[in-house]
Structure formats: structure tokens, C-alpha cells
Symmetry: C2
Subunit: 233 residues, 2 copies
């Protein structure tokens, strides 16, 4: 295993708390955060189905915002600036220390539906120490399309089995496993707020299940494993 690829929204960053805060600061209802996110998968589906050419998340997020605001008869002074709230999401407390430890032993990169500019700005905001920015934009496709995983591994010159996909979402891991990647599940039970009912537990025999990124680093990192432990597979 040479590299770890990470889902970002929900897995690395707490998009809900961050977007609610940005909405509230503009006098908009914080509940719009969940509605904004709920429009996301149907939007991606228009690209995945081929009904629409690949466009980046700024375009999709802006369209969804316009629709939500219009539906409530609301306006905002600078909708593009609010759309870039998705470039300013805070990490979970374990994200940066966990990634920093994993980076000592592995190549780490996002394999997100975010585009390169969004991923770079988010990494600068949240302190995510990526070695490269991979994912949807280099494939011009959206997860769970297999090309997103395959092109991300390919860009690193690696075969899928040399890569572990890390995500808080069972569906993402199922797609990564289907192209031959190893899988690590890190649940984020607060991603969707107090009433979350999905992705609370692993739904398959993922190769690793860890409570957070620091535990993931302890489980995977040879430098922190006891000398008597068996070699990594």
C-alpha cells in the first residue's frame, strides 16, 4: 500500500457546521445548509447520466443556491461569495493530526467530487497537507463513476490495489472496492447533525474500520506500530 485517497465532504471536513455558520452570518436560515447539500446528488446525477457535460462544483453549488433562495423569496448580496463557503469548511478535530501522521508513510490525496481550485482553497483553509489534488476534475466525472478512482490511482502511477480509499460513506467504499482498491471506513456520525441515520456503521467488511483519522494512522503507520507487529500486507 503506497497511497491513501480520501473523500473530503463529511469525511475530512464538517461541511454542515461550516455552511450553517456562513448562512447565519448573512441572516439566512441555517437550515438551508441541509437543503443545499440535498440537491447535490441529484445534480451530480445529471452529469453522471450524461444528460449534462461535466461542470465543476462551483457551478452546481451556485445553481442550487439560486434555486433555494428563489424558492423562499430570499436574496443575498454576493451569491458567488456565499457559494465559496464550500471552499472554507472546517476540518474535524482529528483530521489534520491524522493526515499529518499518515503523510509520513504514504502519499495522501483527496479523491473528492470537488474540483482542483475548491480542493486547494479548502486545503489552505483547513490545513489539509495533501501531496497532490486528485479526484473528479482529472477524470471529468463524478464519484461513484469508476473513472474517478481509476484515474486518481493512475495519476500516481499506482495500481488500484496499491491504494486505500478512506471515506465516511459506505457507497464510496463500495465503488472503490469494485475497481480493486483497499477500503477504510471512518464514520462521521455528526456529519448530518443530531438526527443522522445513515453511514453510522460499516455495511460491508471494509479492510479497516477506524474511529477517526488518528486511529487510522496508528493502525496503518509502520512507524507507530510496535516492533513485534507483523509486516504490512
Amino acid at each position: 500500500m503506497r497511497a491513501l485517497l480520501f473523500d473530503v465532504f463529511g469525511t475530512c471536513v464538517d461541511w454542515r457546521t461550516s455552511v450553517r455558520r456562513e448562512l447565519g452570518a448573512r441572516g439566512l436560515p441555517e437550515a438551508l445548509a441541509d437543503e443545499w447539500r440535498a440537491l447535490y446528488q441529484p445534480q451530480l446525477e445529471t452529469v453522471r447520466s450524461g444528460a449534462r457535460e461535466w461542470v465543476n462544483l462551483d457551478v452546481l453549488h451556485r445553481e442550487a443556491l439560486d434555486r433555494l433562495l428563489a424558492g423562499r423569496g430570499l436574496t443575498v448580496a454576493d451569491p458567488d461569495e456565499l457559494t465559496r463557503a464550500w471552499h472554507r469548511l472546517d476540518p474535524w478535530p482529528d483530521t489534520v493530526p491524522g493526515l499529518s501522521a499518515l503523510k509520513r508513510d504514504f502519499i495522501i490525496a483527496p479523491c473528492s467530487n470537488g474540483h482542483i481550485a475548491q480542493s486547494v482553497n479548502l486545503a489552505k483553509h483547513a490545513g489539509l497537507p495533501w501531496d497532490a489534488i486528485l479526484g473528479a476534475e482529472i477524470a471529468h466525472a463524478y464519484k461513484p463513476h469508476p473513472d474517478v478512482y481509476l484515474r486518481s490511482a493512475g495519476a500516481l502511477g499506482l495500481r488500484p490495489r496499491e491504494v486505500t480509499m478512506v471515506a465516511a460513506h459506505n457507497g464510496d467504499l463500495a465503488a472503490a472496492r469494485s475497481v480493486g482498491m483497499a477500503t477504510a471506513f471512518v464514520p462521521r456520525p455528526a456529519e448530518h447533525g443530531p438526527g443522522q441515520t445513515t453511514d453510522l456503521e460499516p455495511e460491508d467488511d471494509w479492510d479497516v474500520v477506524a474511529g477517526d483519522f488518528e486511529e487510522l494512522a496508528r493502525r496503518l503507520g509502520p512507524r507507530t506500530r510496535p516492533a513485534s507487529a507483523p509486516p504490512r500486507p
Copy 2:
């Protein structure tokens, strides 16, 4: 100015010393390093001219190595492993401290003819703290083709004038300026060894000329500039 893009071979890393060492360690003539590099521009030209589809530098470096070894009747046990010497080049002494300082204020990324895997491996080897990996592979073209510069800025969501190209080669800066980027010249007078005759001086009125990356950071970084200094252009 939001981002700095960097040439890598020669500008960030001392390819010649590193490749000579790898050749010598295998009992091969160290002088092959210069011959290996000399084949590089003619190889790139076959792609730039359209005579050949885009292939990555591992392919080009391996072909050149085979040609050089055959020409001297030499062989090497693992030519692919020796080809990856170009993934293990040492930085100039000022490179990592300079990039680390610049990263605090700007997005920093390579805009190199190296591909993503080579650039990532090189960054891990040399400790180059890139925010993203841009350059030839995302454009499927080789510098000085304008697409390499334009697509690298575009991937960051930036206009060319929001980006400064940093290079030790006047030709690279001329190409970057032609698409509207700002330019910074950092000479590397030892890149080609003791007899270097090219790129010793700026050959145009580049926006910045700095002796090394630490001086570049002092010149560009608002956090280290005196309070009385004029605002950055």
C-alpha cells in the same frame, strides 16, 4: 497575486548532481547525466510538434536511457529503476525553506514538464511542500506550449495575471509572460555544472529577479515585508 507556479528541473532541484550520483552508484559514467538531459528537449519537441501523442517523462527518459546505453554498449540491471532517478532529485539548499515561507502567503504548485506521479514522488523525496500538482499532465502538452501555463492557472480558478511563474530559464518565463503571467527569475548558475553558459542572467525585464527562493520569499511575502513598504502590485 494569488499563486506561484514553479519550474522544477533546475529551478527547484539539482537534477545534474543527483543523476550523476545515481549513475556512478551503478558503475555507469557520470557524464551520461548531461547527455541524458540533452536528449530531453528534442524528445519533447516530437510531442509539441504533434509528431507523437503525449506520453509522460518516464517513457521519454527510459527511451533516452536505452539509446545512450546502447550507443556505448552498456547495460544496467533495472533500467526502469534507474529511470526513476528523475523522481529522486535533491533540492537546492534554499528551495524548501523558500517554498515553505511562500506557502504561508500564496498557493504554490509546480508547473513542470514532469507528470503527476513523478512530481509527487519528487516532492516526497525532496520535501517540496506543494499545495497542488499542476503542469504538463493536466494539459497533455509540454512547456513552452501555452496550454501548460493556462490550464495550470485555470485549474486554480485564477486568471494568468493572478499567477507568477518562477523559473531559472528565460525561455520558460517568456512563454509564461506571453499568456499574461507575472514572472520571477531565480538563476541557478550551477544547474549544468561548472561550465554553464546559459541562463546566467535575466534576458528580459522580469517582474522579479531574486538570488534564491529565500530572497524571493522576502521580496514577495507581505508578512516579512517592512510595514512602510508599498503594497504589492
